[in-house]
């Protein structure tokens, strides 16, 4: 059973052929793609790590931007409130001055109306006085003739 014979030579040749085929054909065909794939996986992992770092950095800067935006918003709101207060004050001031002006105007109008009324009253009183005098005198006073007198009278009233 432990006899070495020509079978050995045959086995040796089969082994050499198989080894040659695997070394020259199979391994080159497998090694390239597998190594390339491993390289890509390593690259992908590195890129993932880099991405994670970038994400952390971006989160930091996003926080800063949000904080700044909040501050800015607060500033804008403050400013707007300030401006609104100012506008209200301005409007109040304008409204009171306008009111004063209107009151003043009304006063002037009243004074003018009073003067006019007094004038027309005076004239009327003069007319009545003339009428009464003429009746007393029994003759009619010539209005044109005594205009000067009447006017004098009117101013005295």
């Amino acid at each position: 059973m432990l006899s070495i014979n020509a079978t050995f030579i045959g086995q040796f040749i089969v082994l050499l052929v198989l080894l040659w085929f695997i070394y020259k054909v199979v391994v080159p065909m497998l090694a390239g793609p597998i190594e390339e794939r491993q390289r890509r996986i390593a690259q992908g992992l590195a890129a993932g790590e880099k991405g994670e770092q970038a994400l952390t950095a971006a989160r930091g800067s996003a926080d800063a931007i949000i904080r700044e935006a909040r501050e800015r918003a607060t500033q804008i709101i403050d400013h707007a409130q300030h401006r609104a207060n100012e506008m209200v004050e301005e409007a109040k001031g304008e409204a009171s001055s306008e009111g004063a002006r209107l009151v003043e105007q009304a006063h002037q109008q009243i004074e003018l109306d009073t003067t006019r009324a007094r004038e027309s009253l005076r004239r009327e009183v003069a007319g009545i006085a003339v009428g009464a005098a003429s009746k007393l005198l029994g003759k009619e006073i010539d209005a044109t003739k005594h205009a000067e007198l009447l006017n004098q009278l009117a101013t005295q009233i």
């Binding site: 014979n5 079978t7 045959g10 082994l15 085929f21 070394y23 199979v26 391994v27």
Partner: protein, 271 residues
């Protein structure tokens, strides 16, 4: 092939006999050569089919994924042992592992099936397991021996290699040349002999145990309670041994893959 009139020793002898052609040294074990060549072709075909579809653009599936997994594992094992350009060592390890696994697996076939198939083609004997033939394991071991010597000469030069033969491990004193050379010869010869004998012995013993288990029901010629019990025990033992043998099939192939790489890596080291 179990004929009713067969005796146990005849059954075992029949299963242990190669189909031969020729005389003396020029005897050829046709069964060993045919089975190992066919399995080498099958291994080459499967590897080629998987390698053909390998691409860095696509994810391997099915056979491709399995072969790539095996390749990657073998390459990793070789890389753990040898730090250098390991393209050839990976090829050698992949060749030895895949071919030995394929050959060892034939031991898991039903014991009488290969003989029955070969018998249909007119073969009187058919011993299917090439790794239980010392010629099969020795061929691989001798290639490893040649590679070990070749690697030693390539890395140290012919002079340096010869110098190591006479100066290590005891020292370079002329009186120690012969002891050094004897020890180196033993060390060098032990490698292929242990490789060849280990695989041969493991597979031979495994095959023999399958035969002994098969003998349990050899004497059963008609249906009886005892006969049914014997067949049951045979099936149980055969199944258990087959499952255990899967481990041996893979383990021995793994050992025959790793040790040559270790020997070749050692041959490159300077003493």
């Amino acid at each position: 092939m179990a004929v009713e009139t067969e005796t146990p020793s005849a059954y075992v002898n029949h299963h242990m006999t190669h189909l031969t052609v020729g005389q003396g040294f020029w005897t050829v074990h046709v069964d060993t050569l045919v089975v190992s060549s066919a399995l080498a072709a099958l291994v080459a075909l499967l590897l080629w089919l998987a390698a053909r579809r390998a691409s860095s653009e696509t994810t391997p599936t099915g056979l491709g994924a399995f072969i790539e997994f095996v390749y990657d594992w073998v390459d990793g094992e070789v890389g753990n042992i040898y730090h250098g350009n390991r393209r050839f060592l990976t090829a050698l390890a992949l060749t030895l592992f895949t071919w030995i696994v394929a050959m060892n697996m034939t031991d898991l076939l039903p014991l009488d099936a290969p003989g029955a198939v070969a018998g249909a083609f007119g073969a009187k004997f058919w011993r299917v397991l090439p790794t239980a033939d010392i010629n099969g394991t020795a061929a691989m071991a001798v290639l490893v021996l040649l590679l070990v010597i070749g690697t030693g000469i390539r890395s140290k030069g012919a002079g340096g290699y010869l110098h190591e033969w006479i100066s290590a491990p005891f020292g370079a004193h002329p009186a120690l040349w012969i002891p050094n050379a004897i020890l180196n010869l033993i060390e060098l010869a032990a490698k292929p002999i242990s490789l060849a004998m280990r695989l041969f012995g493991n597979m031979f013993a495994g095959e023999l145990i399958f035969m002994l288990i098969a003998l349990l029901s050899l004497s059963v010629t008609r249906v009886s309670a005892g006969g049914v019990a014997l067949v049951g025990v045979q099936v149980l033992l055969g199944s258990v041994w087959a499952v255990f043998h899967i481990l041996i099939v893979l383990l021995q192939a793994f050992i025959f893959m790793v040790l040559p790489v270790v020997y070749i890596a050692m041959a490159e080291e300077h003493h």
